[in-house]
Amino acid sequence: MAGIAAWGAYAPRLRLSRKAVTEANAWVAPNLKAKGKGERSMANWDEDALTMAVEAARDALGPDDDRSHIDSFYFASTTAPFADRLNAGIVSAALTLEKSITASDVTGSQRCGLTALGQALASGGTSLVAVGERRRARAVSAQELDFGDGAAAFVVTDGPGAAEMLGRGSVTDDFVDHFRGDDGGFDYYWEERWIRDEGIVKLVPPAVRKALEIAGLSASEVDHFCFPSTFSGMAATLAKAVGIRPEAVRDNLAAVMGEAGCAHGPIMLAHALEDAKAGEVILVAQFGQGAEAMVFRATGQGQRPARGVTGSLADREVETNYLKFLTFNGLVEWDKGMRAEKDNKTALTTLYRNEDMILGLVGGRCRETGVVQFPRTRISVAPNNPAVDTQEPYRFAERRASVLSYSADYLTFSMAPPNHYGMIVFEGGGRIMMDITDVAPGDVETGLPVRMVFRIKEVDEKRGFVRYFWKATPDRAAIAAQTSQAAE
């Protein structure tokens, strides 16, 4: 039976204080004050569904940069940056998966994350599933407070791994609780009572029952019930309806990260895998033009993620500046200044010719001298041996690195000024002048340990193209380890 061999998750570091939002909007929407508790995850300006999926996938795959064991890749999102360009192809290139894999984008409903996982489990071989969502909502809407951004990923294999899949149930029904047109605008919702009573309560239980039936389990045997919903108490109501014990209903993380759309069921599943003891039964379901439900049994084996949901949620920076949230989400027409007027057209030929360098952060290693460099060039940079055509591909993305020099630039255009960048040097050799993200003034100093993250480099608003590259971000785990070492 197929199972989940490894899993990972990602929540952006920024957490928007809901109180900051409701207070800013109290003049126009005093009714939203009741939602002013806790915080929601907030993507940085340079994060989207795709970059977060890459981070979750790296968490699942681990630090080994040989990904040749992956046969197929599924990327799921309803907020993917491209409508006609294989988003999975970009993620795949960032992860340096083999060119020979099959890859697909799975989209179209809030349950597409679980659909992708189900397809991977049914496909045979070793698959990677990555689900990311960066949700858009209008300013002053309830969704703005309810939603969150995040991602989860799973490595699926033929064996049981960390969790064996026991059964899957699906319902497909064109029940339109909300929709979003292909103009990339905002969700339009119908009445909550109708969605809950006629939609979720009627369409989810058949999928859950079917999954349990195939698994040969009764509902009372479920130890972890994962069901995301922005309606409070919705999972408990469903549990009661199908006979799942109330104590099996898992926290939907609404208070600490909000709901990350189609990624949220997978995120709750990843979270449950972190907690589940060997032999425990996990049931995950998600609603969306029907429902998807899957039952797993944890084995206590498999590969645990370095960060996972718990680690991601622990790495947080509270953001109380609601205007920054609006700006990052394109909800404010702001004066970017003349320096932002440059044309950001991407030369597609150059992008393709340098695909592994730009998307995969692949440099070169000289097979004669062992000298490592970025970018890979025909003539090696080694001053003592500028050998010709000796460079073999060398991956930098998973290497530990540190800051050699830096500045915080207030002059150049940046979505999050000052723009931090500097010379990053890698353990094992190589250096790259690159952007440093997720930092504030005072965070960066020479010698700071950093790790690589795949991020939006620039957005070409004129043509609707998003350009990606890698950036450095403080390696907070390494910094904490250094600090505790120093204290000893």
Binding site: G337, M338, R339, E341, K342, D343, N344, T346, A347, T349, T350, L351, N354, M357, I358, V371, Q373, F374, P375, T377, V381, A382, P383, V403, L404, S405, Y406, S407, A408, D409, Y410, L411, T412, F413, S414, P418, N419, Y421, G422, M423, V425, G429, G430, R431, I432, M433, M434, D435, P441, E445, T446, G447, K457, E458, R467, F469
Partner: protein
Amino acid sequence: MPQGIRDKVAILGMGCSKFGERWDAGPDDLMVEAYLEAMQDAGIDQTQLDAAWFSTHIDEIGSGKGGTPLSIALRLPNIAVTRVENFCASGSEAFRGAVYAVAAGAADIALAVGVEKLKDTGYGGLPVAHPGTLNPQVMPNGSAPGNFAQLASAYRAKHGVSKDDLKRAIAHVSVKSHANGAKNPKAHLRKPITAEQALNAPMIAEPLGLFDCCGVSDGAAAAIVTTPEIARALGKHDLVTVKALQLSVSNGYESQYNGWDGSHFHTARIAARKAYKEAGIERPRDQISMMEVHDCFSITELVTMEDLFISPEGQGWRDVLDGFYDADGEMPCQIDGGLKCFGHPIGASGLRMLYEMYLQLQGRAGERQLSNPVFGMTHNLGGAPASNVCSVAIIGQEGA
């Protein structure tokens, strides 16, 4: 090593426009201004020019590609005009071209003109250049101050200098240049500043504040060069001759090989060594009389003092604070006010620096005149510390 350029070429005349926010002038007007002064200084007729070199860097707001902008502005008699561009060393490149043509015997008299018109962008700072198709996909969206500011973090780390000490030292660099520029009628910025002003100015790119950055100006400068023999035949005496012209260009070592520490300019040290050898200078700290260096940012000037082997490595900041480079110090630097006060019209800067060294060597620098200078050194840096071009030129009294 090649024989070198020492004493083979003399400067016949030089000119320099007023630098500043020249709302009244286009690039052609600026070129004419510098050119007419140089021609008058040289005392020759236009028909005596054999060839010209023209340096300008930013086409979009400058005067365009090719040689025609210079030839048309000056109405040159259909002689050869070569346009050169090498980032911030462009002006020095124009000079190099003219000098080499004379040394080679390809021209008896050659003209070098550099110009840049920066104030037609609509904003302060250098214009955002089109970076090509690959760079913007990987390089940070940085600015010149952000790139050069990185020297400071690496310099502090390497030499164990505190943030406060280094900030005080680079503040002094700017205070000194403003004091000098105040005495120069052709400078853009002519107000002295205090250390407190420099230390408390708004941040541009950490740790560089507003007064750590050079101005943005329009300007042009020109040189006319010939052989010493022709110069003498034209009635010139006490000649200023070219002693050394060196250019060193990054080959990726700094940006791609883990050997460079980020605290200095690899190319500057190479160019300086070669220039001293070419000029026959063995003890630069004692023998060089004065310098104009590429003070695009105060930290650049500070590390340059070490790269040119004037200050011992790691001690430049102490020399700066001790006043060693002040107008009344042992090695006056930026005696005309530097890029700090002249601004940095890219194609013109190298020639503007040589203009001041030439005036000083001829004893024509007025209120700024130093006593009996023998060797004047100029230095330009283009690009960014991790990938740059560096030129070092030395001119001096003939036979010195």
